[in-house]
């Protein structure tokens, strides 16, 4: 009995030694159906080179936050799964609710910044169901960003909007054990020590599209990192969502002058904002 108990204990502790961390593979896009991207031809590439946006000074804008990537990232890290199943990560939901809802949501400062921008006449944040209802081409495809933007353009036309603003973000999580993890040997004593340290790298992207000409007006990306020391019980998913909201807010704030300039000059523009600048 003693030997069996010792073996079981050894197995239990060894299981705690298993390599843990993250899946570095690509985030799987939402499997949404059959919508097919138009074929890309050399002529299409040349046409895109000469296509220039021509929006007015003040714009009716459809804005959409894609939280799918973040949600997928969270679900891929197994330890977050129970949380991700029970709750949507709260602030990220503002992007998929109708405008009336998240206009009053203080967790969406980025949205409010955009709404207050001088080039904005009105702003609309459609729900997913509203977007789907406008979809005349069949279900969305796995080519998620572009098919979503394509549907947003259709939706925008029905609301007499002329610009689409699309946000998305991607997350990478790195975890390693600290020296304190040796306290796992004490089983109970381990709960008093930071056993792991983690690093979150997040990249948020914002794109602005002219609905009528199908031209890209503006693209920007913003990186952010957060280092945390983790106590047992897993990572705090609110830390992920707060980092996301801070990042898209910062991205929006820094992008506004560039968007205004791209609208004024009619020349597409891409900007990169570092977390360290």
């Amino acid at each position: 009995m003693i030997r069996i108990a010792a073996a079981l204990l050894a197995l239990a502790v060894l299981s705690a030694c298993a390599a843990r961390g993250y899946d570095r593979g690509p985030v799987t896009p939402k499997p949404l159906g059959k919508y097919e991207e138009p074929e890309i031809t050399d002529e299409g590439v040349l046409a895109a080179l000469t296509r220039t946006p021509a929006p007015p000074a003040r714009n009716r804008i459809v804005v959409y936050f894609d939280d799918g990537s973040i949600q997928n990232d969270l679900k891929r890290a197994n330890r977050f799964l129970p949380f991700a199943q029970r709750h949507s990560v709260l602030p990220l939901d503002c992007g998929v609710e109708p405008f009336q809802h998240f206009n009053n949501n203080s967790a969406c400062p980025a949205f409010n910044r955009l709404k207050a921008a001088p080039f904005t006449e009105s702003l609309y944040g459609p729900s997913l169901s509203e977007i789907y209802s406008q979809n005349s081409k069949g279900p969305l495809s796995e080519t998620y960003y572009q098919s979503a933007i394509s549907l947003l353009r259709e939706f925008g036309k029905s609301r007499e909007a002329n610009l689409v603003v699309h946000y998305n973000a991607n997350l990478r999580l790195y975890i390693q054990q600290t020296l304190f993890s040796v306290t796992r040997l004490g089983l109970v004593t381990g709960i008093f020590f930071p056993l792991e340290e983690s690093r979150l790298d997040l990249t948020a992207e914002l794109t602005v599209w002219d609905i009528s000409s199908d031209a890209l007006v503006y693209a920007a990306s913003q990186t952010a990192s957060r280092h945390d020391t983790r106590f047992p019980g897993g990572y705090d998913p609110y830390s992920v969502s707060s980092l996301y909201m801070e990042t898209v807010d910062r991205l929006t704030e820094k992008s506004l002058p560039g968007i205004a300039q791209a609208l004024a000059t009619g020349k597409p523009r891409s900007e990169y904002f570092s977390s360290r600048r």
Binding site: A10, V13, L14, C17, A19, G21, R24, G25, P26, V27, T28, P29, E37, P38, I40, T41, G44, V45, L46, A48, L49, R51, E142, T143, Y145, Q146, H166, N168, N170, R172, Y174, I175, Q176, Q177, S181, V182, L185, R199, D201, T203, E205, T207, A215, L216, A219, A220, S221, T223, A224, S225, K267, P268, R269, S270, E271, Y272, S274, S275, R276, R277
Partner: protein, 260 residues
Amino acid sequence: MRAPLPVMETGTQEEFFMARWLPVAVLAFALGGCAARGYDRGQVAQTLKEKLVRDSPATPKELEVTDAAILLALETKPQVAPPFRLGIHLDPTAGFTPEEKDRIIAWGDKLKAEGIVSDFFLVPESILPGRDWDSGYYSPANLRRVRLGAARLQADVVLDVRVQFIDDDYPNFWSIFYPTIAGCWLAPGSHKDTLFVMSAGVWDVRNEYIYAWLESEGVATTVRPVVFRSDLLTHPPARKEALDFFETEFFRRLRNLKAR
């Protein structure tokens, strides 16, 4: 008269135990050193090939190489000369860190100062059509989607960076102490090697003329107790080594372009 048989000495129970288990321990120790190690470069090439086939929607027609296609490639000429607008597309599966992106973006200032580029910017993944994330390598269809993304930002030339990395984990002799539990934290019995490969083409957005092709590798290795084995120990140095070499080559090739 027959000689008496030698009398076998009887040892203690501990000695008997040692005599029986010591060879087993030595064997396990030796086996730990026999673990397969090294990168399977053949597998890397195979993976790239599979990605190329899988991601090309027009397979196999797209991949068919004809004499006409070769002649067309020979006749393709560069459409721009420095300074040009250079877009850079980074492999979305590579997980470039903010620090690495900062470093790459900073190349733009240097290139502008040398009169090689008039503008230097990122081509974000979300403006590219087609499959996102599951990026294949240089399939014709995949390259065209990168060119289209760059064209949407009116880039003349696009640097398309692809990345592949392999981790090789194997135990050494010290791993025999892992069953003692404490050995998981104390015995340096786990090797982790990382090979990081960057490959990139500098393409003309208008006609797919290739100005330059670059490849660089970085390797890092670490030995730790199994609990402390982490990608964070090998990936950053391997990536840095690859990026250092890549940066040097990239500038050399672009300066050559200007000198032509």
